[in-house]
Amino acid sequence: MSELIKTIREALLTFEPEKLVETTKKSLDEGCDPLEVINALTVALGEIGNKFEKGEFFLVHLVMAGETVKKVISEHLEPLLKKAGAERKTAGRVVIGTVAGDIHDIGKSIVASMLFSAGFDVVDLGKDVPVEEFIKAVKENKPHIVGMSALLSTTLPVQREVIESLKENNLRDKVKVIVGGAPVTAEWAEEIGADGYAEDAVQAARVAKQLVGGKD
């Protein structure tokens, strides 16, 4: 294990956001390449993900670490990459949101966090997202995957509407679609023509990785 990874890992495992920011800044001051720092963060986050799957860490560790790392990357590292004209390597890009008419946020946010921890670049559109917003976000961000959440059985059909609209805009074959939410079943996912369904947030990241299999 490189010294940098070790330091970053230790800082992340304190679960104190300030510690990670401090360590990141220090590493950069000492001349570390921002891409290497991102790599170190990804490795450390992946380790937390594995420990979560083994039951050694909990959802709270995963989400907290994920949000902290996301903030550190976007505030302290990406600006440097931009300056240098470099780009970070991800497992793929995901556009995710809770569909129109539904303001239940937490399930989708947990999945977003899991995807980020699994190495994806996640564009979170939030809740109550109209069909057009999904389409616009797909055009702008060119994601590999579109994820839709719905908690109410009455908003579930909006997932179908988004898929239909992707077809109408000739975007359907450019993205994979995953759906989730308490009333979503594997049969529903198949019926509306989604590519992937996971029964819970933990499985969502795995399904997403399978879907982009050939892409990274």
């Binding site: 039951g55 909990f58 959802l59």
Partner: protein, 479 residues
Amino acid sequence: MQVGLKGGQLQFLSKEDVEKIHQTSLKILEKIGIASASKNIASFFAEAGAEVDQKSGLIKIPEHLINEALKKAPSKVIIYGRDEEKAISLEDKLIYFGLGGTPTPYILDHETDEWRRPTKKDMADATRLGDTLPELDFIMSIAGAFDVPYQLEYVHEWEALLSNTVKPVVYSAPGAFTAEKVVEMGRAIKGERLESEPPFGVYVELVTPLMFHVANENVFSLAKNRIPIVIGQMPQLGATAPMTFAGAAAVSNAENLAVLTMAELINPGTPFVFGAYVGPLDMRTARLNYGAPEFAMGNIVDAGLAEFYKLPTFGFGGCSDSKLPDAQAGAEVMMNSLMAALCGINLIHDCGYLAGGSIGSMEMAVIANEIAGMVKRIVKGFTVDEETLAFDVISKVGPGGHFLAHPHTLKHLPTLHLADLFSKESEVKWAKMGKKGLRAKARERVDEILSQPAVEDKALNEKLREIVKKAEQEIIGEK
């Protein structure tokens, strides 16, 4: 009218604890506020004198509005059902058990043993089952109608409920349109007595933490028609609320007070059933655990606060995280049912929920019915007086004698609980009878009940069907 047994023998929260939670909730509503995705609700609060940011929809409710509303809400609410004899009076820690809750995405098919998407027919069957099970006093659902146009799911579900039970019903009617249709159904049942003898209550839930949804616009027509509003807020520990019970209770309570204020402002005296619950999110699976001890403890929060406000309560029991009606399910159902009863919750709902509310099970409903019977026996307790101390009887029988032949024994025999499906016979007899486990017996009971012809009120069913048909035309148009 049924007068329930009095629960509430356990007191967990001190008056000071409750007062502190109450004060924190007031502070949440006044300083942090509650967000509204509904313009109508935000405008309504603005007109009533709350501080509303029309742009963001943030509503800050001053304490005086809440205090006035609390004074107007009745401390006793009666839900009548179609048959007045089945009416239940929600007051003073009287307990009642209810079948299921809001729709479940799956039903455990008791014939094939597979779980699948439920249909309107399942909804009707489940309702008939609940109508027959003697310890279940009100009806919600352990299915859902997923084979009807989704825009009308709830309207169809209400039809399935109201045409298949004479017991009081509690169910969701999200949005203004559905609420109006449900009020129409109420009129079809009660006519002009709808307001004085509501046959059902309507379940209302805000999105937690602290958000009104467009679906909550149903409160307008419910309150106007004095339909009991039944709340079931459940912030999740560490996810949609603080990890600590007290903080989560304050959030849950604030959400209740917001709806209560709205309902009592619309129509003072609107029946309001309080439901400030707290639930644990499983930090390993990201699912809500209905069978966890902390889930059963949500009833403590609910009962403690409701007693302080002198309001009837809606709480949880009869539910499990197990995927089968097995030993785990039995243990969890007994734990949360007994907790709810000993806390004195008026409406104890979710009997027959498995997989944390993802799967409804008729067999489990039958087992939960039996557990409810045991719980009711426990809260009944026993009396201590001259007759029950029975000194004269002891004296007459004397040392070494037996009490079996004494009339006192026969007289007090009915205090003893009789098991129905639970095995109490000798192992030899049990073996001779085919060594049947509880689940097999529950399955037979389901079949037995469902094979009975449905008792129908044909005229009413026709009216309910008409309401659904009209709703279909309004929403989907003529076919």
